[in-house]
């Protein structure tokens, strides 16, 4: 576009038709109207929620607090919480879409209420959001919150970079949300294969929204990966050997390494697609020497490691929970560590199993099929070692443990179907059917999300200082478990009955009963989410009697439990020194859990910085400008972004100091509370008596 045309169209491609709401009003087709109504409703929800939030913030004069205490914060704990909040916001949208899709499925015999295009936008946004803007932020948030605490560090290695990663992810998420209000989203699914996503077949802005939101997310994740890996590698408390690290930290390390190496192929492949779309390159076109197969190849070079990026932190959570709630040390620690590392490495060797049916020769399929099955070995070791962890322990069936036990059952089923898919001969049959959809939801929900939910229940008291309501937690957990089974077991059978994924409607009456079961299951899942919200509400209401300031409500084993709940900004007044696994359990057993140090020192922590939010804002506008081809905006925000980096390079003195006295006062206060708190037995851990001090019960009992 030349300068003159740019000036003629200061808003690029943007015009009144870009707003689906206006477009709907202009149309008299009833089908367009219904789908337009749904779309406008969703768009209105986005707009209204934003307005409500703005209004509330103004009403309670919370802007200052928000900006100084949260948005610009470089504290890993706050950043972690913001990641989780982002995940939850996005989750609401993605679940709503999931329920809509299942409702459509239930009435999808020869029709239904959704248009084909609308359905396609639903599965595309649902998949994109769930993977990139729900699961990834959720686990990144947990890692951010927990890992520095577990390794006895004051913060991550690069706090400001951490904030930038967060804001890049937020910008990506905001872009996806914007597509609801302005324009449309891609219909190409979460992996957007060309040439379908090329300009020839998809000239609109939908695919561009998808490309730039993914690019932002993948950049954010790469930086997060670097940050976490370096933190774990360089910032451990003195004495903490790699083999002393808690399992969650191990899985975080492996996940971080995978992010570092798996995100680049995604960045490359989306940018190449962008070049095809914007500058008429021929990377993936049908003609002129393009090679669409290479898109699949590179996408899955990222995509397969990605699914293990999702599952590994969940594995870490389960490891902590099995050990803590069995009141017992992890069985086979080294096996678990080596299994984690093997999974991470093997995950780079199997990407081809996502396109067994593209036509390559049998021996290639066989090699990658076998490589895929190999992953079953370390995964199995984990399952077995968790079982052995419970063996000879004392298992408490609290909410996190309910999730973990359900996880074992359902994950094994999902793993088995994974092994079946890894078998090329079988994959030729079930590829691209809803059998595959069942497989990956089996891994993503009982595998990843149950882990995230368990971790949420487990660490919530640490982060906010009070326990979550146990009863509503259980109700929610059972709804999740049975709802999930109802929603997805039918899909296995439907897949074997030949129903392709992404079908808005079907012609076989024999599908209907199972589709209805699946819809009911999805409703139960929605109920589970409601129960979760109620749980949060109830817990906040009763927060005073559920306070656990001392910080150790579950008789925890690793260092994050060795500080107050919530922890001080600097985590530990004195950096602990470690000489064993399960460092905090050891300390409690030696009776040195709550001791005062000899001296206190000044603590340096990073100052707040507006870098992150500024980066988020400019990169959002940059991406928005690219989507709508508003070139002046692109150039302007591009320059501001670079400028911010340059200016930051010139800054010095980015640390602030917390004086030793402040540290001392806070620490004494906490020790006082710990010493005066009644140590409670595990049978009382869900009662108001639990102030976060655990009684020593790990004594061998036999009969």
């Amino acid at each position: 576009m030349s300068w003159s045309t740019t000036l003629n169209h200061p808003l690029g491609l943007l015009d009144a038709d870009s707003f689906p709401f206006l477009a709907m009003l202009g149309s008299d087709d009833s089908d367009i109207f219904i789908n337009g109504l749904l779309g406008s409703f969703a768009a209105a929800l986005v707009v209204i929620s934003v307005m409500v939030v703005v209004a509330l913030l103004t009403r309670y004069r919370a802007w200052r607090t928000l900006w100084f205490d949260w948005l610009t914060s470089a504290d890993h704990k706050k950043i972690g919480i913001m990641y989780v909040v982002l995940a939850l916001v996005m989750l609401v949208r993605a679940i709503a879409e999931a329920v809509l899709m299942r409702a459509q499925g239930a009435v999808g015999l020869d029709g239904g209420f959704l248009s084909s295009d609308h359905f396609a936008q639903l599965f595309s946004t649902h998949g994109t959001i769930m993977i990139f803007f729900m699961a990834m932020p959720f686990l990144t948030g947990l890692i951010n919150y927990v890992v520095p605490l577990q390794i006895g560090a004051r913060d991550v290695a690069f706090p400001i970079l951490n904030s930038i990663s967060l804001w890049l992810t937020v910008a990506g998420a905001a872009l996806v949300m914007t597509s609801l209000v302005v324009g449309v989203f891609s219909t190409g699914g979460w992996f957007g294969y060309p040439p379908y996503t090329g300009t020839l077949y998809n000239p609109g802005v939908g695919v561009d929204y998808w490309i730039w939101s993914l690019t932002l997310a993948s950049l954010g994740s790469t930086l997060t990966g670097i940050n976490i890996a370096v933190t774990i590698y360089k910032k451990r408390a003195p004495g903490m050997k790699l083999y002393y690290m808690p399992l969650f930290t191990w899985t975080a390390l492996c996940t971080a390494i995978m992010m570092i190496f798996a995100m680049p192929p995604l960045t490359v492949v989306t940018l190449q697609l962008a070049l095809d779309r914007y500058l008429d390159f021929h990377f993936f076109t049908n003609g002129l020497g393009g090679n669409q197969m290479n898109f699949l190849n590179m996408f899955w070079l990222f995509g397969h490691p990605e699914v293990y990026i999702l599952i590994l932190p969940a594995f870490g959570v389960y490891s902590e929970i099995f050990s803590t709630f069995s009141g017992k040390v992890l069985f086979g620690y080294k096996s678990l560590v080596w299994a984690t590392m093997s999974i991470a490495f093997l995950s780079f060797l199997v990407w081809l199993h996502h396109f067994f049916t593209m036509g390559q020769s049998g021996h290639i399929n066989a090699v990658f099929g076998i490589a895929s099955m190999l992953i079953g070995i370390p995964t199995g070791v984990k399952i077995y070692d968790w079982m052995w962890t419970m063996l000879r322990g004392r298992v408490r069936f609290s909410v996190p443990m309910i999730y973990s036990l359900a996880f074992i059952f359902l994950f094994v089923i999902g793993g088995i179907t994974g092994i079946m898919l890894a078998n090329p001969i079988l994959d030729y049959q079930v590829h691209n059917t809803v059998f595959l959809v069942a497989h990956f939801h089996n891994m993503a929900v009982p595998g990843v999300l149950f882990g995230m939910l368990a971790g949420y229940t487990f660490w919530f008291p640490k982060a906010f200082g009070f326990r979550l309501d146990e009863r509503w937690g259980r109700i929610s957990a059972y709804c999740w478990i049975f709802g999930w089974m109802g929603a997805f077991f039918p899909l296995y059978i439907l897949g074997l009955m030949g129903l392709p994924r992404r079908s808005v409607a079907y012609e076989q009456a024999s599908y209907v009963p199972l589709e209805i079961v699946a819809f009911v299951g999805a409703l139960l899942v929605a109920a589970a989410l409601m129960a979760l919200v109620i749980q949060l509400w109830v817990s906040i209401k009763h927060r005073e009697e559920n306070r656990v300031f001392v910080g150790d409500p579950w008789d925890g084993r690793s260092l994050e439990w060795a500080t107050s709940a919530p922890p001080p900004e600097y985590n530990f007044p004195v950096v602990p020194s470690i000489n064993d696994r399960d460092a905090f359990t050891a300390a409690k057993e030696f009776g040195v859990g709550y001791q005062e140090p000899d001296t206190y020192v000044n603590i340096e922590i990073p100052q707040n910085s507006a870098m992150g939010p500024v980066f988020g804002g400019t990169s959002f506008l940059l991406a928005f400008g690219l989507v709508w081809q508003i070139w002046w905006l692109v150039i302007l925000t591009g320059l501001v972004t670079i400028g911010t980096l340059v200016v930051r390079g010139f800054q010095r003195d980015t640390l602030k100091i917390i004086p030793a006295e402040t540290v001392c006062r806070a620490h004494r206060h906490w020790i006082q509370a710990a010493r005066s708190a009644q140590p409670i037995k595990r049978s009382q851990e869900h009662t108001a008596a639990n102030k976060g001090r655990a009684a020593l019960e790990t004594v061998e009992v036999s009969t």
């Binding site: 089923i413 078998n423 392709p500």
Partner: protein, 329 residues
């Protein structure tokens, strides 16, 4: 007079009753669900209608049996038993909070999965090559040769040897191999007849191959499984295996009644739209004996010319199509 197409479709059989004795009740329930017995079309490879699907079905049950009996069951029982026996408050079992390693259990944890994976790997290694979709099926009778082209949102089947083409119907003789070459005139698609066997992608400017066979006459669901746009879910077709005589009759029928496969026809096919929409465009010329659309005068070089034109991003050469003239050659 050759049998009409209508009468051929009456031949479509109902395979469920005549299946080999199925004793396992689990399998039986699954079969009823899966085969779609209430419709005339076979939907699933679990009620296999050809050698490939049969092998896949056997493979499927073998793998399911191994994985569920050797892996899932022990884990399920073990987890329940352990979690209960070692619950908080239990008195009968020993509590050893520092018990963290026991070599035999470790060997077991690694050994069991390794053994099973080795076994499965042997299975995969041997069978993947054998069931390469490119591999022609051995048979005493010659293969029927069909060229498959994916359009938005319908499949075009070209019979180069017979000089005919169809949208919506893939007819072929039962009991002998069916050899297909596939390509796409548009986005990436995946061609799939579950009751007969493997699926394979069809891509622009490229040719993939697929070899299938039906054991006996029957009607099978055919589809595209790779999302391709608005009409994707309607991109279905009927794969119909016939006796040789019926097939010959069908070919004659198509030759006699099909519309010429010329530039007008091809332009209509290439437009985005489902089979039903295509019919409304071509309806004036198309006889209405069933819901499909048949063409005559398809040239043997059409397929290759089309692939090349997509590959070079050039219009189809005029020699690819017959000039719009004769009917039924």
């Amino acid at each position: 007079m050759p049998k009409s197409i209508m009468s051929v479709s009456v031949l479509q059989m109902h395979g469920c009753g005549s299946q080999q004795a199925v004793t396992l009740s689990v399998q039986c329930v699954a079969l009823v669900l899966l085969s779609g017995c209430n419709s005339t079309e076979h939907l699933s490879f679990l009620n296999p209608q050809g050698p490939i699907a049969t092998a896949q079905s056997e493979h499927f049950w073998l793998v399911v049996a191994i994985l569920f009996i050797l892996i899932a069951l022990p884990v399920f029982i073990g987890t329940v038993w352990i979690a209960w026996r070692y619950r908080y408050g239990a008195t009968k079992s020993k509590y050893v909070p520092r018990w963290k390693i026991f070599k035999p259990l470790e060997y077991f944890s690694w050994g069991i999965p390794i053994t099973i994976v080795i076994f499965l790997s042997i299975l995969v290694w041997e069978d993947t090559e054998r069931f390469d979709p490119y591999r022609p099926l051995t048979s005493s009778t010659p293969a029927t040769h069909v060229q498959v082209i994916g359009y938005d949102w319908k499949w075009l089947f070209v019979y180069p040897e017979q000089g005919i083409a169809s949208v919506g119907m893939l007819a072929f003789p039962a009991g002998q191999p069916l050899t297909m070459e596939l390509t796409s005139a548009t986005v990436m698609q995946s061609f799939f007849i579950p009751a007969l066997g493997s699926q394979i992608y069809a891509m622009g400017g490229m040719v993939t191959q697929l070899n299938l066979q039906a054991d006996r006459p029957g009607r099978f669901l055919g589809e595209n499984t790779m999302y391709s746009g608005d009409g994707f879910h309607q991109q279905k077709f009927a794969a119909v295996a016939m006796t040789q005589a019926d097939f010959d009759a069908w070919v004659q029928q198509v030759r006699a009644t099909g519309i010429p496969f010329d530039a007008t026809a091809l332009n209509a096919i290439a437009m985005q739209g489902t089979k039903a929409q295509l019919r409304t465009v071509l309806a004036p010329a198309a006889p209405a004996f069933d819901s499909n659309i048949y063409f005559t005068g398809a040239k043997a070089n059409f397929f290759t010319d089309l692939v090349m034109s997509v590959m070079d991003d050039k219009p189809l050469p005029s020699t690819a199509l017959a000039p719009a003239i004769t009917k039924g050659q």
